[in-house]
């Protein structure tokens, strides 16, 4: 293989043709063009060509085109005001890059010289146009305009068009360009931002004016990557074009057959991945064919649906909508795509319904059943036959069959529905376009938009212009942290020119004062996130029109976003018209999001987003989100949001306002809106759960685009008007009758039910007055809701009998519990260590509590609820007077147990039991338990033991989960916040350590559940303490995550850190040998395996809340157990439906460190024989207090037997006789030491001299790896810090060669040192020595090999000198011989 690629490399450099002329400037270029003959190659010399106005004119021949190319691809760029025109025939342009500028003409690359002279039979290939955008956002140009005939545009890269105008356009505006047969293929259309206006199409063929002409252009094999410019990704406006085998990756909008007939749209793939506004195909006009297309996760609605068939206009003018006739829509498959729209756009004008059309053999799958098809008019002109869906389609009388379907990945990795054994899939191309096989291979497709918080942290102290200086020297993505309380003064106005986060350090309250007309200007390219800052307008100049944050005054051709969280804005009153956010014309925000902030005493508007007043469908912000804010004493409006005109090419704006409070808003004389909130032409309005007290009205002018309008759960006091004008429908739901006591919390749920008003008005003004009578009701949290949910209970009750796996396990648990109940309840006074009676009794109690709760829910037998209740009352009697546990061994002593860790275990289980019997108890009983037991219990674990709770450690995860889970059940927000974010003040020193020697405090001061997910898990899901502790820690992680997922789905916990929690389950299952036992890395007790109860729960959760990997079912089957909850029933059901498949383990690298940059673990498994040889190599970080000094060690397994072992820990967990089940002192003196591992010891000292603080600072580094070749797998890593002046470099090869019975392990361990030292390389084999080439001298009396670092524990039994250059040793273990050379 390797030799082959070398050979290939040599052959790749023949390409230059006959006559080649290198040109260095425009004069040389022009003369080369004049002299060009067929076969001439004009080569642009390397470098930047500034303002190059190129005209390539001439006639080549089919065999000898005239070529324009570059000296070296990627080293020539056309910048400034450069552009290119082509004229003639057989021209070939290759390798040009346009960037850093924009065209002064209307087209960057034009296939014509002037109105009459075109280029034909020419090719544009491997050219790049990258962010070459006119700085004037609404100044229009196109990047490539194709005229003439028979041109081919292939393998080009177009990315980042920021100004108005179609990216690539095929023009038909003369006879010479009609029936052109152009081919547009294998191009990469890179990200294009939302333009917020018409004119953002990525590709357009024709115009309405020429839409009756045939174009015959073929568009195939292109990759459209997040082309979000506008509603029409592709706008077809001519006849007889073909769109085939293109991939649309997360593009918003649709492939639109806007004008022109006889289009063929086939084999295209639309991957929306549930991004907002993603759509598929929109059918308008006659004789359109749409077949064998595939859509996934397209969630746009109305004109952006997955499949839209429009109504036309009778006798339509050219620029309106022609009626759909003779459409053929066949064999398409749409998965999890929410909206099919038929007769869309039906209104007084668009009244011509589709006719003579057929809709056949299409398949639809929706994971969550919802209304799929919307019919806006008469569909009798469409015949439906043999279509199917996994849900009923009641809207269509016949031609749709409901079939049971499952979802499977096809060979191309696309999710397809499966009916019975048959996978339903469209006939897609075998070769789908991808990011790598399209565009110019030599030009990077990496994302250019830099994310917030991707840069470095910068600390800034208070003072004058300290912040200005930090902003001036910042880099994109940096986080500027204000680390001191007090005043930050700006006497200069900073320009935000790239993404920046400015935030207060935790628990610090910085105040920002500014002396210019604004605190910040966001200029082109800038984006801003603010957090935790108080903005005080006191020092602003005494003149009107100040602001806190402004956009550029000039056009911005890059969209921006603005995030404000936990900020306070006050005293913006030095003069009139002082705004918070001030935007200017020709700017566009993707997002403005303001959360958890307060605004008070302001003379202007909070935000007037209404500067696009031309009424041509342009506006200032796409998504405006306001959550959980307080607005008070504001003279202007809080929001004015404006989108005028009748254009339908855009999506927004979207307003999402939730949990906000408005007091005294909008009564200033200069408030021209006379409103608190003014909305004009807004497309999506959600105003919910909010309080308006003494405010001007909410006014809404509803026009164009069928806006979605929902106002719900509002309290309006002296603010009694919602004014609606316009001609569109809207919905106002419930308005509150009683003033809520908590404005910003979900508890405020006593509301009044005004009759729901849905109107369809025609140009009238309507005012709704609040009624003061009506029905009220209370919405409370449902129980159970935590791990077992009401839905799960119903599912279990109705399915358990048909799932023998579940039922068997249920009955086993019932038998166990019945016996337990018969033997009575015992809640003893705590006194013992682990292994002792009181410890084991309390431990058993919490398991029983949880199980009894579940049985009560499933079997509906009150005896179980009574058992839980009685036991809880016994605990509640004891707990308030309980002293700290008498055993003094722990750094954090519990009350029921010797350490808080076990108390946390208790509460994690008890919370689940409490949730299950919550509704069984009376309110009084609940109050008793909560005040006597649960709340004090949670307080003791958190504020009572910050050294335990406020830490990045598996102990704390248990603590966080315990407090959070009981918080969720009790609906106690304070406890939930404490669990998620940690305690604000803990008073712990950074030097403090626990009784395993680990540091308590995180260096950054992070704490809480989210921080505990962040720090110890690598992006691959590897937990830095290694699998034994990962298994233990996983349980609270997953359980609390399930609880959060069920009670607070808004937090998206399973998506946190890119879904790391579920990835961790997969990593853990891969860290097991053939028998399912974990590799005993770091402190680990051998034999622990995926049969443990934590993994039973983890596997069930990963299946149910993850992607239903059928491999997990086979493990669940082997485990023979399931959890008795939503996840368990899902697994049991799937097993009984025969969905189980073997779990595939594979060779893999698992990175270590929060960002995956601290070395890692490699597992080598031999290809087809993966169950046989496993090699586990460790080059990770220290692994917290459970880490060992074992850099570059490895262990080896054959069929689940250890060949070369890792010792594991020195401890007998839960065996009372051995130190109460705790760690033995030999864990430190032997198990952690380097000599206990299969790696190098220098001078009989362990790595880092066995110093934990030093070891924690370093990690080994991966040098390279190659796991892709089944013949030879290799991992190579280096360690430079374990010993001073010594570099260690180990490479392990697992080589598969038929001459050997099993793959052989080749171990190359290179040591580089400048000083002389002694080396020991131990191999901890298991088995009996068979033979050796060394003649060992046996010792008659045994003595220890050394005196420390583990050597004191080794008896020296024999010693031999190397007699040959090669030594051999053979040993036998478990029936196999091993041979070491």
């Amino acid at each position: 293989m390797k030799k082959l690629s070398l050979f290939f490399f040599l052959t790749a450099s023949f390409s230059f043709a006959q006559e080649s002329i290198k040109v260095n400037d425009i004069q040389e270029f022009n003369s080369a063009v004049v002299n060009a003959k067929p076969g001439t190659t004009i080569v642009l010399a390397n470098g930047v060509w500034k303002n190059a106005e190129l005209l390539l004119e001439g006639n080549g021949t089919p065999k000898a085109p005239i070529i324009l190319t570059v000296e070296e691809k990627g080293k020539v760029s056309l910048e400034g005001q450069s552009y290119l025109r082509l004229s003639g025939s057989y021209l070939h342009v290759e390798g040009l890059v346009f960037k850093n500028g924009f065209t002064p003409t209307n087209e960057v690359i034009s296939f014509r010289k002037n109105k009459n002279e075109f280029a034909n039979n020419s090719r544009l290939t491997e050219c790049v146009i990258d962010n070459y955008s006119n700085p004037e956002r609404h100044e229009q140009d196109s990047w490539v305009a194709i005229y003439g005939k028979n041109n081919r545009i292939d393998h080009n890269h177009f990315e980042g068009k920021g100004n108005r105008g179609v990216t690539l356009i095929v023009r038909l505006n003369s006879k010479a360009s009609i029936e052109n047969n152009h081919i547009i293929e294998a191009n990469y259309f890179g990200p294009r931002q939302n333009l917020g206006s018409n004119g953002g199409e990525t590709l357009r063929i024709g115009t309405s004016h020429f839409s009756m002409e045939k174009s015959k252009t073929i568009v195939q094999g292109n990759y459209f990557d997040r082309c979000d410019g506008e509603h029409e990704i592709i706008s077809n406006k001519s006849d007889q074009n073909i769109y085939r085998n293109n991939v649309f990756y997360e593009c918003i909008g649709t492939l639109t057959m806007r004008h022109g007939d006889e289009t063929l749209v086939e084999q295209n793939v639309f991957l929306g991945n549930r991004k907002r506004n993603t759509g598929g195909i929109r059918v308008i006009n006659g004789q359109q064919t749409v077949k064998n297309n595939y859509g996934y996760g397209l969630i746009g609605y109305r004109f952006r649906g997955a499949l839209v068939v429009m109504n036309g206009v009778p006798n339509s003018p050219l620029n309106r909508y022609f009626q759909v006739e003779d459409a053929v829509i066949e064999d398409n498959v749409f998965v999890n795509s929410d909206h099919i729209q038929l007769c869309a756009g039906s209104d007084a004008e668009r009244s011509a319904v589709p006719i003579n059309s057929s809709f056949k053999r299409n398949t639809f799958y929706l994971e969550k059943p919802s209304k799929l098809v919307t019919i806006y008019d008469d569909i009798t002109g469409i015949s439906f036959d043999d279509n199917r869906a996994n849900i009923a389609i009641p809207e269509i009388e016949s031609g749709f069959e409901k079939q049971d379907m499952t979802l499977v990945k096809n060979s191309q990795g696309l999710l397809m529905p499966k009916v019975g054994k048959k996978i339903i899939q469209p006939n897609l191309s075998k070769q789908l376009p991808t990011k790598s096989n399209t565009g110019a291979a030599w030009y990077s497709k990496a994302d250019k938009r830099i994310a917030f918080e991707s840069g470095k942290d910068v600390s800034v102290k208070k003072g004058m212009n300290t912040l200005f200086d930090a902003i001036a020297t910042s880099q994109p993505g940096d986080i500027i942290e204000l680390v001191e309380d007090g005043e930050y003064v700006l006497t200069k106005l900073p320009q935000i020119q790239h993404p920046l986060t400015i935030r207060a350090k935790k628990s610090v309250n910085p105040i920002l004062l500014w002396e210019k007309k604004a605190a910040f200007d966001i200029v082109n390219g800038g984006e801003l996130a603010l957090e935790g800052i108080t903005f005080d307008g006191e020092e602003a100049p005494d003149g009107s029109g100040n602001a806190v944050i402004r956009t550029s005054k000039y056009s911005m051709n890059k969209n921006y976003s603005l995030y404000i969280n936990r900020c306070h804005f006050k005293n913006l009153d030095v003069n009139h018209s002082f705004d918070v956010v001030k935007v200017f014309k020709n700017t566009f925000a993707d997002v403005i999001q303001i959360t958890n902030s307060t605004f008070s005493n302001i003379t202007g508007h909070v935000m007037a987003l209404d500067k696009e007043t031309d009424d041509v469908g342009i506006y200032n912000v796409e998504y405006l989100t306001l959550h959980n804010n307080l607005f008070e004493d504001i003279q202007g409006a809080v929001v004015s949001l404006h989108r005028g005109g009748k254009d339908e090419s855009t999506f927004g704006p979207f307003l999402d306002l939730n949990h906000c409070t408005f007091k005294n808003i909008g009564f200033g004389s200069r408030n021209k809106y006379k409103a608190a909130i003014q909305l004009y032409g807004v497309q999506d309005i959600q105003i919910k759960n909010s309080v308006f007290e003494n405010t001007q009205p909410i006014t809404m002018h509803l026009v164009v685009g069928e806006p979605i309008v929902n106002l719900d759960h509002l309290w309006l006091e002296n603010s009694n008007q919602i004014k609606v004008t316009g001609d569109q429908t809207y919905h106002i739901g419930t308005l509150l009758i009683q003033k809520p006591t908590h404005y910003n919390r979900q508890e405020m749920m006593v509301f009044l039910w005004v009759n729901s008003i849905t109107t369809n008005m025609k140009q009238s003004t309507f005012t709704i007055l609040l009624a003061t009578f009506c029905v009220s009701f209370l919405q409370a949290q449902q129980h159970p809701s935590l791990i077992l949910t009401q839905k799960g209970v119903e599912e279990i009750r109705s399915n358990r009998k048909s799932s023998p796996f579940f039922e068997q396990h249920l009955m086993a648990v019932k038998a166990e519990l019945d016996a337990e109940i018969a033997s009575g309840i015992d809640v003893p006074l705590p006194k013992d260590m682990a292994g002792g009676y009181t410890h084991e009794r309390h431990k058993r109690n919490f398991f029983m509590l949880q199980k009894a709760g579940v049985l009560y829910q499933i079997l509906e037998d009150e005896k179980y609820a009574n058992y839980v209740k009685e036991m809880f009352f016994a605990y509640a009697d004891m707990y308030p007077s309980l002293p700290i546990h008498p055993q003094p061994r722990s750094y954090a002593r519990g009350k029921l147990f010797w350490q808080c860790l076990n108390d946390s275990n208790w509460l994690v289980y008890a919370s689940q039991a409490y949730d299950c019997i919550y509704d069984f108890l009376s309110k009084k009983e609940r109050k008793h338990l909560e005040t006597q037991l649960f709340r004090p219990f949670a307080d003791y674990l958190s504020v009572g033991n910050p050294q335990f709770f406020n830490r990045i450690h598996n102990h704390s995860t248990w603590g966080n989960a315990a407090v959070g889970m009981i918080g969720l059940v009790m609906n106690d927000q304070e406890l939930i916040d404490r669990a998620l974010y940690g305690l604000k003040e803990d008073g712990i020193s950074f030097q403090a350590k626990d009784n395993d020697g680990g540091f308590i405090k995180d260096k950054g001061g992070a704490a809480g559940f989210l921080a505990n997910i962040e720090a110890p898990f690598s992006p691959d899901g590897y937990y830095t303490e290694a699998p034994y502790y990962q298994r233990y820690a996983m349980y609270p992680y997953l359980l609390f995550a399930v609880g959060l997922n069920n009670v607070r789905p808004d937090l998206g916990i399973f998506d946190y850190k890119d879904g790391v929690l579920l990835k961790a389950v997969d990593a853990l299952l891969n860290l097991t040998d053939s028998d399912g036992e974990f590799y005993p890395l770091n402190d680990a007790q051998k034999g622990m395996s995926y049969f443990s109860r934590e993994l039973v729960s983890a596997v069930d959760i990963a299946y149910h809340y993850g992607d239903q990997n059928p491999g997990l079912l086979s493990i669940a089957k082997k485990q023979g157990k399931i959890t008795l909850d939503d996840a368990g029933i899902a697994v049991a059901k799937a097993i009984s439906e025969g969905k189980s498949q073997p779990f595939q383990k594979s060779s893999r690298l698992l990175s270590d460190g929060p960002k995956g940059k601290q070395g890692g673990i490699a597992i080598l498994r031999e290809g087809s024989r993966e169950e046989e040889i496993n090699v586990v190599a460790k080059y990770s970080a220290q692994g917290n207090s459970h880490g060992h000094y074992d850099k570059l060690s490895y262990s080896m397994y054959l069929k689940g037997n250890e060949v070369l072992q890792d010792y594991g820990l020195a401890r007998f967990v839960n065996i009372d006789q051995k130190n109460g089940g705790g760690y033995l002192k030999e864990n430190k003196t032997w198990a952690k030491q380097t000599v206990a591992h299969n790696t190098l010891v220098v001078n009989e000292k362990s790595h880092f001299n066995a110093n934990y603080s030093v070891g924690s600072k370093f990690h080994s580094d991966l040098y390279f790896s190659d796991l892709s070749n089944s013949e030879i797998q290799v991992i190579s890593a280096k360690e430079n810090n374990a010993y001073a002046g010594t570099q260690m470099h180990r490479t392990l090869f697992l080589l598969n060669d038929p001459r050997f019975d099993y793959p052989i392990l080749i171990d190359v361990f290179k040591v580089t040192a400048k000083q002389q030292q002694n080396y020991d390389l131990p191999y901890h084999y298991l088995g009996q020595v068979m033979s050796s080439t060394i003649t060992p001298q046996k010792k008659a009396t045994l003595s220890a090999l050394g005196s420390g670092h583990g050597y004191q524990h080794l008896w020296l039994r024999a010693q031999g000198q190397n007699e040959k250059a090669v030594n051999q040793l053979s040993w036998l273990n478990a029936g196999t011989f091993y041979f070491n050379l």
């Binding site: 490479t1291 171990d1307 040591v1311 524990h1353 091993y1378």
Partner: protein, 117 residues
């Protein structure tokens, strides 16, 4: 080579008595430990038959070991000899390497290669 057994200075029998062997080199600066582990054959205590009880490797050798490259050779008892070449300083998968050994030149691309001859 040292043969050791765990259990010294362990009055409470807290440690398992596991065996180990240790490759020891004294007073050395830079060095290379090169070894191969081969699992082979089987033994049945019921039939008392040992199958394939001896190794399929005849010899292993270090051919080159310097700052930039390490080359080792494995000679199985039959068939082609395997030569493993490692680049020690450059792990770039596209980097090409050339070394001369015993008058022969070897070229490859990437951090490692195995030649069979």
């Amino acid at each position: 080579m040292l043969f050791t057994q765990l259990g010294a200075n362990d009055p409470e029998f807290n440690l398992r008595n596991d065996p180990s062997f240790i490759l020891r080199r004294k007073a050395t600066e830079s060095t290379l430990f090169f070894s191969v582990v081969e699992a082979h054959g089987s033994y049945s205590p019921v039939s008392e038959i040992a199958k394939n009880a001896s190794s399929s490797i005849r010899e292993i050798k270090t051919l080159l070991d310097n700052e930039n490259y390490t080359v080792v050779q494995i000679s199985p008892t039959k068939g082609q000899v395997l030569m493993v070449c490692l680049s020690n300083q450059n792990a770039d998968p596209k980097e090409s390497h050339q070394i001369n050994l015993k008058g022969k030149s070897y070229q490859w691309v990437g951090p490692y290669i195995i030649f069979k001859s």
